[in-house]
């Protein structure tokens, strides 16, 4: 590589969420980015949870270490943050939007997300593309494109890397000759896009120089959809360095705060509070065998996403879903047997992984499922919904168990097998899973990303 690239990342979810409301009004000296060096992670701000930030931050760090990029910028939606901040070698820029506009934007984003996850009959274009809400969705994308353009004038980027479906129109609005990469993170199934939306999607997609899909199946679906431009499959990934591996004693000490006893058989479900994540399926399956395994405990980790957080779009989905799950737990008489931890810190999450017997990913639809890779990193067996993108890497019975999330009995059967196991099967699945994780770890992915960027930018 002759020279380090200047990269500009664009995501909806900001890398940082600001916990101190005063920080949002603080500006750097002379309008320069505010340096977060004198603020404290955990009290003043925190890194947003979720797959996109978990993937992109380590990638930027690694590419920086490799000398492939320099001075990266990152633009995202954040009405409650300072205009721009400097953090960990990055300059983060926040796109502001009023609460009213945010609501309209959120409605469209949610509608597209639901269609991609197959949960709602698609609305016709009249009900979506011509609404005032869609105007706000366009507002957000145009405001983002304008900020990206201004930053390019000042920084002369080599490439834009745009992440996730909410940002899809940005490419068509960004009238710069710089290469643009778009990464689609949610499911993309055959026939997913309603025929009436097709032309709009095609128009948005054609402005990108490369489209990245998370699995081979999604890539095939994109081709079947009619997209003829450059596209690749690249698995999502995590950086093992982001994880700690506490001893059993340390893990138990951390988990005691949720009432987990040293003799409990812990089944772990990690995912934000969202009906799509299928926590209800896990609870119902657990209910069928709770009496047979009196020491078994189901632990559900996670709260709302950025969209449903008060620091984000403040959609109430997460809270409503949590309340529904609490009611379900009560109705099934599982109080004390099912634990809802809410948001946990990374060391706490690592402790939970180390403390559990195995993990479950019960999603009704899942773009990929990096929590499975996390389980493998912690050498834990995993039971995975057959609707998750990562099933492309799963060989049932070899490196995990796979079930149909529409059938509670299917999951219950797998839970029974693993709870009843002496440990041999769980160990075998976990070890094979650990070996499978390779392509989803940063070491492999960084090289693939560099090759892809080189292909787009040119030698």
């Amino acid at each position: 590589m002759s020279e380090a690239w200047r990269v500009c990342i664009n995501t909806q979810t900001p890398l940082l969420q600001y916990l101190d409301p005063g920080l949002a009004r603080t500006v750097g000296r002379d309008d320069r980015p505010l340096d977060l060096g004198s603020y404290h992670e955990g009290t003043d701000y925190r890194v947003s949870p979720g797959g996109v930030t978990r993937m992109v931050l380590p990638l930027l760090r690694r590419l920086g270490e490799m000398g492939a990029i320099r001075d990266p910028h990152w633009v995202s939606l954040n009405a409650k943050g300072p205009k721009s901040v400097r953090y960990d070698g990055l300059v983060l820029h926040n796109v502001e939007m009023s609460r009213l506009r945010m609501a309209g934007y959120g409605t469209i984003k949610e509608a597209v997300w639901r269609v991609a996850h197959g949960t709602r009959t698609s609305k016709g274009p009249d009900e979506l593309l011509w609404t005032a809400d869609f105007s706000e969705f366009a507002y957000y994308n145009r405001a983002t494109a304008e900020l990206l353009r201004r930053l390019d004038e000042a920084n002369d980027f080599d490439v834009y890397y745009v992440h996730d479906f909410q940002q899809l129109p940005v490419g068509s609005m960004l009238s710069r000759a710089k290469p643009k990469i778009f990464r689609w993170h949610i499911p993309f199934e055959k026939g997913m896009i309603p025929p009436d939306w097709r032309s709009t999607f095609e128009e948005y997609l054609r402005h990108y120089d490369m489209v990245i899909m998370s699995t081979d199946r999604y890539l095939r679906a994109l081709r079947d959809f009619g997209y003829k431009g450059p596209a690749k499959r690249m698995f999502p990934y995590v950086d093992p360095k982001d994880y700690t591996f506490p001893s059993p004693k340390e893990a138990q000490a951390v988990c005691a705060k949720w009432g987990i006893h040293p003799k409990d058989q812990v089944i772990l479900v990690v995912g934000r509070m969202d009906p799509m994540k299928g926590q209800d399926v896990a609870i119902q399956a657990f209910a069928t065998l709770a009496s047979s395994f009196p020491r078994a405990k189901l632990v559900l980790v996670g709260n709302g996403s950025f969209s449903s957080s008060r620091a984000g779009l403040a959609l109430t989905k997460g809270e409503a879903w949590r309340a529904g799950l609490e009611q379900l737990i009560k109705d099934l008489g599982l109080e004390g047997r099912v634990v809802l931890t809410g948001h946990v810190t990374q060391p706490e999450l690592d402790a939970l992984y180390e403390r559990c017997l195995f993990t479950v990913l019960p999603s009704h639809r899942e773009g990929f499922g990096l929590v499975v890779v996390e389980s493998w990193l912690h050498r834990r067996a995993t039971v995975v919904s057959d609707r998750a993108g990562i099933t492309e890497l799963l060989h049932p019975g070899k490196n995990g168990l796979v079930f149909d999330p529409t059938k509670v009995s299917s999951l219950a059967q797998d839970l029974h097998v693993l709870l009843d196991d002496s440990g041999e099967l769980r160990h075998r699945l976990a070890e094979e899973g650990y070996r499978t994780a390779g392509p989803c770890l940063l070491d492999a992915a960084a090289g693939e990303e560099v090759a892809m960027i080189k292909e787009v930018v040119g030698p």
Partner: protein, 264 residues
């Protein structure tokens, strides 16, 4: 401001005024130069340089004529020479001016855009560039055909792109004081009233053409349902865009104190 009393300068006074005129000319030429270069920042560099040089010469000629007049020398001959030079320049640049003028009108009135397939006279191909002088077509044999823009005003132009009749392209210039995101959002809201005449599968498309520090040139593309609606949709869309521009250009009034707020 109190002006200095220059009366004691006596006979030297006209020379002082001439010097002041030349100084103002110098400052004006520099300022206009800077403005032209920034406005033409996305044009070809040699065109931008030539334009700024031509304007400089013009300003200096006017400044020198005024300065010479101030010191009492007759400028009749000088004006005659300048006038004749101007006429000669216009004659010399006639074709270029015709093309530039034709580009302005064809942008607005002749329905084709980059990416369309068109036939003009004996030439046919895909439009790959429209510059102030010519329109470049790429033929099926991979040949580049350069058509002077004035041909589009004098010849029959056939847009052979499938369903080209559906597209209504409206060029828009938005001044830099207007927030583009707000403009787009307002235009979409306003145009949603026309959706019964527009193809529901294609929401309005706003794409950038050129941009300089003063304006953003955009194209609003609408897709109509019926060929017969073209005229009425174009007229109504133009009216709506103008209303949005007017609304956003108006300084916002602060609800509490009634003061004007700066445009964002």
């Amino acid at each position: 401001m109190i002006l200095p009393n220059l009366a004691p300068l006596g006979p030297a006074l006209p020379f002082v005024y001439a010097a002041i005129i030349l100084a103002v000319t110098w400052a004006l030429a520099r300022a206009v130069n800077r403005l032209i270069r920034s406005v033409m920042s996305e044009s070809m560099p040699h065109v931008a340089v030539s334009s700024s040089r031509f304007t400089s010469v013009l300003i200096w000629v006017v400044g020198i004529v005024l300065a010479v007049q101030e010191i009492g020398v007759s400028t009749d001959i000088l004006l005659l020479v300048v006038g004749l030079a101007g006429v000669a320049a216009v004659i010399a640049c006639r074709e270029a001016l015709e093309n530039a003028g034709a580009k302005y009108f064809s942008d607005v009135y002749i329905p084709f855009k980059i990416g369309d397939s068109v036939r003009v006279g004996e030439h046919e191909g895909k439009v790959i560039e429209i510059n102030p002088m010519t329109t470049l077509l790429l033929t099926e044999k991979d040949q580049l055909v350069s058509i002077p823009n004035r041909m589009f005003m004098g010849q029959v132009v056939v847009n052979t792109t499938p369903q080209a009749w559906k597209e209504v392209a409206i060029p828009i210039s938005v001044t830099s004081g207007i927030n583009l995101a707000e403009f787009e959002s307002e235009v979409r809201k306003s145009l949603s009233k026309l959706r019964s005449r527009l193809d529901p599968r294609f929401p309005p498309l706003l794409s950038g053409r050129a941009r300089n520090p003063l304006t953003s040139d955009l194209t609003l593309t609408l897709f109509i349902r019926q060929p017969g609606d073209r005229d009425i949709v174009t007229t109504e869309a133009n009216r709506r865009v103008s209303l949005v521009l007017e609304k956003l250009q108006r300084p916002k009034r602060n609800a509490r104190n009634g003061r004007a707020e700066p445009a964002t």
